[in-house]
């Protein structure tokens, strides 16, 4: 990945509540054009990494890093105004709870058209047509009806596709997608992944895909970073390379329809805690 480094993060640390909670603890990430997956258990800090990169954490969160550069710019140094311009244009975050990142009192059509006006410089009618076209592209049936709906009137999966559509309009360099497919049925999931892939290929973008679906991530991404308690414990190209007992625990906890079991395996948390206290993690 020659000179086209898009994101370079070194020793990113995020603390909440006066340092009592260290949600992210010295994470390094380096990413050019391509797809990096982040997996890890709930509360391990995946979303916090995403929000820290976007500088979207609440003011009481303390964010430090030795290096946090995006396209050669130091993100920690940028004014909030410059940062605001970057967000949604050059870098984009698709949130875990899509319906709560949409404005509840504006119709979907108004919000998507706003994005088309902002990023494509379209006027009213054009923007509305672009909005309809992008909803079709993310495979929303009856896009006209959805354009007139309010966020609470659409299903969870539709909300996620609306967010992805708005992001595609902006053609960002870096996309952080936080569980972008968890509310989608598997057939639509495949198509949304294709859309994200197309964006990476055509625009030369970098994608960080945060998901708990390890199988999907490993099939889709070139690299997988496994997070545990705020740290990246290993980086893999294939699940088969997993060495860390935590990663192996995650893999064996997944149900497999071809191998039914009465109870699922759960990670041995006591053993993990012991290993951790001995500095083995």
């Amino acid at each position: 990945m020659q000179n086209d480094q898009i994101l370079d993060v070194c020793n990113l640390t995020v603390r909440f509540a006066n340092g009592a909670v260290r949600a992210v603890d010295g994470v390094d990430l380096s990413l050019g054009r391509g797809k990096l997956g982040i997996v890890g258990e709930s509360g391990s800090g995946k979303s916090t990494v995403g929000r820290a990169l976007m500088r979207l954490l609440p003011p009481f969160a303390s964010v430090t890093a030795d290096r946090l550069s995006f396209d050669g710019q130091d993100l920690l140094d940028l004014s909030e105004r410059r940062m605001h311009k970057l967000r949604g244009a050059r870098m984009s975050l698709i949130m875990q709870d899509p319906r709560y990142s949409l404005n509840p009192v504006k119709t979907i059509g108004i919000q998507v058209a706003e994005a088309a006006r902002l990023h494509l410089g379209h006027r009213r009618k054009e923007a509305r047509d672009a909005a309809e076209a992008i909803l079709e592209r993310v495979r929303i049936r009856e896009p006209r009806r959805v354009l007139d709906a309010y966020p609470h009137q659409i299903s969870g999966g539709m909300g996620q596709r609306v967010m992805i559509g708005m992001m595609l309009l902006a053609k960002p360099r870096l996309v952080i997608a936080d569980e972008p497919t968890s509310a989608l049925d598997v057939s639509v999931r495949g198509e949304v992944l294709d859309l994200l892939d197309e964006m990476v290929e055509q625009e030369g973008a970098a994608l960080i895909l945060i998901s708990h679906d390890i199988r999907m991530v490993s099939a889709f991404c070139e690299r997988i970073a496994v997070m545990y308690k705020g740290r990246v414990v290993e980086e893999l190209a294939h699940l088969g390379e997993a060495e860390h007992i935590y990663t192996r625990g995650l893999i064996s906890a997944m149900p497999d329809p071809r191998l039914p079991v009465r109870r699922l395996k759960v990670p041995d948390r006591a053993a993990l805690a012991k290993l951790e206290s001995e500095g083995g993690i």
Partner: protein, 251 residues
């Protein structure tokens, strides 16, 4: 335990009417666990919401535990079925502490809600009792979903409706929650109706799986059918095939 006859739901009227659920029948025995899978927007959540009394204006009949469900539910009706929602964030009041959310859920249903019971409810879903003092935004997505499950269990209903209960959870917590749900079902003889996009989850949790397509059930599968990638309708076959993404990369 659940008897649905000719359930029909339309949103809106006239030209903009959206006929979401189109006359479905469903019969679930006591202690059974049944799954619904299907395309996003096909009406799965709408069916669950009408079962639990969150939709008005449905037609047909709904019986739970032998009682006819009226459009407007009384407390005795509500205690029969509790729902765990798709969005863990949306289902918790942002300005209420977790402890308050749990005690309100119990109190609304006329149940005791002292601190010991709240602590036990949290521990039952694998959270420390101290989380009672936190606000929803101070929890991760998965931690919030455990709270949502605790809130349903605290009412001790015979029926639990689960709408994507683990889609925000990582696989290890998912395994813990699914085991927890299986244990409670065995222990209390609970009946589950389970909506999820994850076919491996639904085939692990359910005896029978209904495929929903455009407001009707188009096929019924068993867990074995999914394991063997065997369906009769093209849509169900497509769903099963698409869900196998990444299964071969298993070590």
């Amino acid at each position: 335990m659940i008897e649905i006859r000719q359930l029909d739901i339309t949103y809106g009227e006239g030209e903009t009417a959206n006929h979401v659920v189109r006359g479905i029948d469903l019969s679930i025995g006591e202690g059974e666990s049944v799954g619904i899978v299907g395309e996003s927007g096909c009406g799965k959540s709408t069916v669950l919401r009408s079962l639990v009394g969150l939709e008005r204006g449905w037609r047909g009949s709904i019986q739970i535990g032998g009682r006819d469900m009226p459009q407007v539910r009384r407390i005795a009706d509500l205690r029969l079925a509790q729902m765990v929602f798709q969005d863990p964030f949306g289902s918790l009041h942002p300005r209420h502490r977790i402890g308050t959310a749990l005690s309100e859920a119990a109190r609304c249903m006329g149940l005791r809600a002292d601190p010991d019971r709240i602590a036990a409810a949290l521990e039952e879903v694998g959270l420390p009792a101290g989380f009672a003092d936190r606000f929803p935004h101070e929890l991760s997505g998965g931690q919030r979903q455990r709270v949502a499950i605790a809130r349903a269990l605290i009412v001790e209903p015979p029926v639990i409706l689960l709408d994507e209960p683990t889609s925000a959870l990582d696989v290890s917590v998912q395994a813990e929650i699914l085991n927890l749900l299986s244990d409670r079902r065995e222990e209390r003889g609970l009946t589950y109706l389970f909506v999820t996009h994850d076919l491996s989850v639904v085939s692990h949790m359910c005896d029978r799986i209904l495929v929903m397509e455009k407001g009707v059930f188009s096929e019924e599968l068993t867990a074995d059918d999914i394991g063997a990638a065997r369906a009769t309708t093209p849509y169900a076959q497509h769903l099963i095939d698409a869900s196998l993404l990444g299964h071969d990369t298993n070590p």
